[in-house]
């Protein structure tokens, strides 16, 4: 903030307001990155991450049921084929948007990685 633009400032608490510039820089940087292709890719990344998470959860659940012996051989066979197809489709979608497998993994900070 240019001092010559300050018409009235609170006596001692100017630092209450002193957050503007980094925010502005941040906003501008984000703005130039936001070309349509990147926005699409970012959205695809988010959606595919959620789908990938669900896929892995379903797969684990299925494996538990297979291990528990509650499924017939035919059901196990069908499940395996379904998961294989889903896995291939995910790879295709990833490639279409130029995403690596690691791109679908989110860093959750103290909780670790999503996948």
């Amino acid at each position: 903030m240019h001092d010559d633009k300050v018409l009235h400032a609170p006596p001692a608490d100017l630092d209450l307001f002193d957050t503007e510039l980094p925010r502005l820089e941040d906003a501008l940087t984000r703005r130039i990155d936001a070309d349509p292709e990147n926005v699409e890719r970012g959205l695809a990344q988010l959606v595919l991450t959620v789908v990938e998470l669900l896929r892995q959860l379903m797969e684990r659940q299925a494996l538990r049921r297979i291990d528990g012996g509650t499924l017939t051989d035919e059901e196990v066979e069908r499940l395996g084929a379904a998961f294989l197809a889903l896995d291939r489709r995910m790879t295709e979608l990833r490639e279409q948007f130029g995403l690596e497998a690691e791109d679908l993994n989110l860093d959750l900070g103290p909780l670790g990685r999503l996948l």
Partner: protein
């Protein structure tokens, strides 16, 4: 390519000198666009570029009424700028009339340290009284880290009195802190 800085009256007073470039106008009817040539390469958006844009608009603001053009607005040439003025003539002329003779004064409102205050309090105690003193007013609540950010369209000659009014408000408000800046080009009153 040329970059646009402001829409002003045509004809207007001589253009001010600015660092590193020469300003020119593209006139159409009663309106003119102030522009400067730029390289054809895509604009890099930088803080320095933004400050430079702001400095040019403020230099223009010193002796003319204007509508500030959004930073980074580029068109192929002055002919394209003139066409833009013609296409949006009525709308631009109305907007310029609305800000004629005024500047924008900004007021940011934060809660004082250890005080609890919400945007409703900032609206009632700061924005509404200030809006009554201005030709036009607008605000956003919970903007950035602030409770409220107000923008007020004030007659050029009334800026000091307006700022004094802000200082008086502050004296009566222990739970809020006010930061008043300006005069700015009428950024918040240019659609």
């Amino acid at each position: 390519m040329i970059e646009l800085y402001a829409i002003t009256d045509h004809p207007g007073p001589p253009l001010p000198p600015v660092a590193d470039t020469t300003l020119a106008t593209a006139g159409a009817g009663s309106l003119a666009a102030v522009w400067a040539p730029v390289a054809d390469a895509p604009a890099a958006v930088t803080i320095d570029g933004l400050r430079r844009h702001e400095a040019i608009v403020e230099a223009l603001m010193a002796d003319r009424n204007l509508l500030p053009v959004r930073y980074g607005t580029r068109v192929p040439d002055d002919g394209a700028a003139a066409r833009l003025l013609i296409e949006r003539r009525d709308e631009l002329a109305r907007a310029l009339e609305r800000v004629r003779g005024t500047v924008e004064v900004a007021v940011r409102v934060a809660a004082a340290p250890d005080a609890s205050a919400d945007p409703a309090r900032a609206l009632a105690a700061v924005h509404h009284p200030l809006a009554e003193r201005a030709r036009a007013a607008t605000c956003r609540v919970r903007a950035g880290g602030d409770l409220l950010r107000g923008a007020y369209l004030v007659e050029r000659g009334d800026v000091e009195a307006f700022a004094a009014g802000v200082a008086e408000l502050q004296d009566d408000l222990a739970d809020l802190r006010l930061l008043c800046t300006g005069p700015w080009p009428p950024y918040s009153f240019t659609d």
